[in-house]
Symmetry: C2
Subunit: 491 residues, 2 copies
């Protein structure tokens, strides 16, 4: 568990405000008994200590809690029946998809029942003319990607956890990833959605149409709601023609403050730009130091690096090379390498994607997933450097998605600082980082969401009136507060 800066258990998170009035299932003699009238299928229930422990913690090991029972429905009807029982009896529920989140939003905290969507995982239909695919919530991203590849299509949201993360969870957290710049988040891919509300009401609108302005677009409420308003059971997603080719290059920049200009010129010049990632010198050094097969492709170090990729349905164009050549000519970039093969492209991507693991191999870290307007990124990073300098034995590592100003900032433990002392700095570091984010009109959560980890900082990004409105909507749709209590909104 090298990623974790501390273990958060149910106790540490605090007791949920609804919990007093909710039934403590874990104290009952037989937790299954609550549901057996509603569901006959024994495959729905898991309650061995091993299973309860597996579903009760997240993959980083940072978040873990007790659960008396795991529910694994395999149909919308079962989800509906189970939630109706929970609503009637006041049993708190944590919906769980692939459990790959980073903010503790999908693990039990106070003895909640876990509702796993893993068995609800069929791909139900593909409609080529409308470029849409209908899937159940538990479908794993990689399974969908492979299914669509067989149809000459692709699903344009992609991220590292592709082998585990599930479509329902990705919608519930409005997942982003490395191609948001071109294709948008999960929100932009969702054409239709089926959701079960806390009381078992099914809101089903498995719309395959791109244009459908018929009253309030209710599905938007549930996208990014992190399981506090309803449980997503099925979705209709847009897909895209599979690209015939990718062109990938890495640029070296003389100065960090040249990043916004590079963003603007590449966005304007390359209509098929699909990824624009960046990392600073320290991040590249770390990857090269931690992985034997990572290699800096340049003869000299640069202050900042930009990974450029175009995805195209058309045969190779010379445009990509021309645009990069121009950037070198007029000094926008100091150096550039263009991948000549898929293997070379992968090697360049590894310099960016290996950073997280390189950091893990280095020490503990306080991780931040923030956005600032891309034009402000250089000044913001300068501010973070100044801030980090106030903490002995803490080193900032900078990388992220240049295209949308999304910085995956890591404050990494130095050799001089003991684990406990480093962990103890969490709040002391977090508060000024978020204060700086606010100064730069940024967001304290770019794509990871709020979950449990960031809920007390929500006010840094949203006004009291906005938070009050969120609470009112939560109370409207889940009046007993049974759905993912304590996530997003403070109890």
């Amino acid at each position: 568990m090298p990623e974790a800066a501390g273990i958060v258990t149910g106790e540490a998170v605090g007791v949920n405000r609804y919990f007093g009035s909710l039934l403590k299932v874990d104290k009952m003699h037989d937790p299954r008994s609550h549901f057996e009238d509603a569901i006959a299928d024994p495959a729905v229930f898991l309650d061995t200590p091993e299973e309860l422990s597996r579903y009760g913690r997240d993959w980083t090991g940072r978040f873990q809690g007790e659960t008396p029972l795991v529910l694994r429905p395999n149909s919308t009807e079962q989800v509906q029946a189970l939630l109706a029982v929970c609503h009637r009896k006041g049993i708190a529920v944590v919906p769980q998809g692939g459990n790959t989140g980073l903010v503790g939003g999908s693990v039990p905290r106070n003895g909640e029942v876990v509702l796993s969507l893993s068995r609800l995982n069929a791909i139900e239909g593909f409609d080529e003319p409308s470029a849409s695919v209908t899937v159940q919530a538990g479908t794993v991203l990689e399974t969908l990607q492979e299914f669509l590849a067989g149809k000459g299509q692709m699903f344009p949201v992609d991220l590292g956890a592709r082998g585990s993360c599930q479509i329902g969870g990705m919608i519930a957290t409005n997942a982003g990833g490395i191609k948001v710049l071109r294709y948008g988040h999960m929100r932009e891919q969702v054409l239709g959605l089926e959701v079960v509300l806390a009381d078992g009401t099914v809101l089903s609108n498995l719309n395959r149409l791109r244009k459908n302005n018929t009253g309030l677009d209710l599905k938007q409420l549930f996208i990014g709601s992190e399981g506090i308003l309803g449980v997503i059971t099925r979705a209709v997603l847009r897909c895209q023609p599979a690209p015939a080719q990718r062109q990938t290059a890495l640029l070296g920049l003389e100065r960090v403050d040249m990043l916004p200009a590079v963003l603007m010129r590449l966005r304007a010049a390359l209509a098929e730009l699909s990824s624009l990632e960046f990392f600073l010198k320290g991040a590249l050094e770390l990857v090269c130091a931690r992985f034997d097969d990572a290699r800096d492709p340049f003869a000299q170090p640069h202050a900042a690096y930009v990974l450029v990729e175009c995805e195209s349905g058309e045969p190779a164009s010379v445009r990509f090379h021309e645009v990069l050549a121009e950037a070198l000519e007029d000094g926008a970039a100091a150096d550039a390498v263009v991948a000549q093969s898929g293997a070379q492209a992968e090697a360049l991507w590894f310099l960016r994607e290996g950073i997280t693991e390189a950091i893990s191999k280095t020490g503990l870290t306080h991780k931040f997933d923030v956005t600032v307007p891309p034009g402000a990124l250089p000044l913001f990073m300068e501010g973070i450097r100044d801030l980090a300098a106030r903490f002995e034995g803490v080193r900032p590592v900078f990388y992220g998605h240049l295209g949308d100003g999304n910085l995956h900032l890591n404050m990494v433990q130095g050799a001089s600082l003991a684990d406990a002392a480093f962990r103890a700095l969490e709040e002391e570091i977090t508060e000024p980082v978020y204060a700086l984010v606010v100064d730069f009109e940024g967001s304290i959560s770019a794509e990871h969401g709020i979950g449990v980890l960031k809920r007390k900082y929500l006010g840094y990004s949203r006004t009291p009136d906005e938070i009050a409105t969120m609470r009112a909507i939560k109370a409207l749709l889940d009046p007993r507060g049974i759905l993912n209590p304590g996530a997003v909104l403070e109890p």
Copy 2:
């Protein structure tokens, strides 16, 4: 008013269910007096008979109603102060932007006060690195387009009413238009939004960031809400690099059932496809018959026509010609013309954009704006032909946006049918059309919204549980029901 199939006044629409408890401002001695404590600026109030009449009807002349007073705030603070008074006193309000809608959603029906956003029309800021522009709600689309053109950028939602329609209204109705295929609706362009709720609470989140997952994304609720949940006052919108070139062509197809295959192949082959419009033989004949300068570019008539346009930031590519040549070679299209100049492109576009006016010159019409999955479009149109054949003196004209299955169906009055007799057919035609839409899993409103015109048909596209949820959200955010009463949801 040749477009109108009938005049709908306040009486015809019915009395709003909230209205009993709302204050009838028109019966008061001086309507301004309610607001003068809150707002000193006399420019905010209009109440001459001429002005009241102008704001009280829509541009088609179909929808009109009485209003005692027009409010024209020029700041968020004024909107806030005015709504706070309305909420406290129970005064019903119809928010009004450019008033270019087609479903009667922006005109008073029962003596409501009109809240015009026209004076709140400043462009507040442009941020090139984040490719965003901040505007007030009353900004006219064309004004924004011209502003951005001066910055080498463009706003990717475009539609015929560009000279009058306002950004706030476009967001409130989630406007679409001719480039949805590539760039999406208004929803996809909105990064940040400021909304004043019924009671004067301001929900302000003028976010410029593409990635911002911090709790419920409240702005989504107001996009497409047609003024029933809040009044949009400001927005941050995404913009795009201005395209360096456009390539435009018209294809002739042998049979209507070849449309979906053309859609699939062009979408896959042309990454920069920005418009894919279609019309059938009858529509082209009508345009050529009604306009002297409209010219069918083909030697022979075809069953269906597809207008293809690519917008590109890159210099002219030969790809466009190659793809069309392939389509001709293998018989996907029977004939094709490619515009060799801007004037030729305009002439081709006129064949598509002139259809609405050509219909107006022909007779009265019952207009439908529906979507079906694009693969089902040919069969659906066949069904509509069969249906129309049951009505003597009614002729269907087919055209729309092939890329998203959006059909602007017109049931046009024939010479044999008197105006009154034609108008009387409205319901008799509408119900089977919508029933057929439902059979084909389509939507009864693609992009025009529900307004007053379609509210009684909402149940064709949304379930009772969905409509109940919409009502609950309406009641939550506007408990006295003062905002656009009677729009979207039946009183």
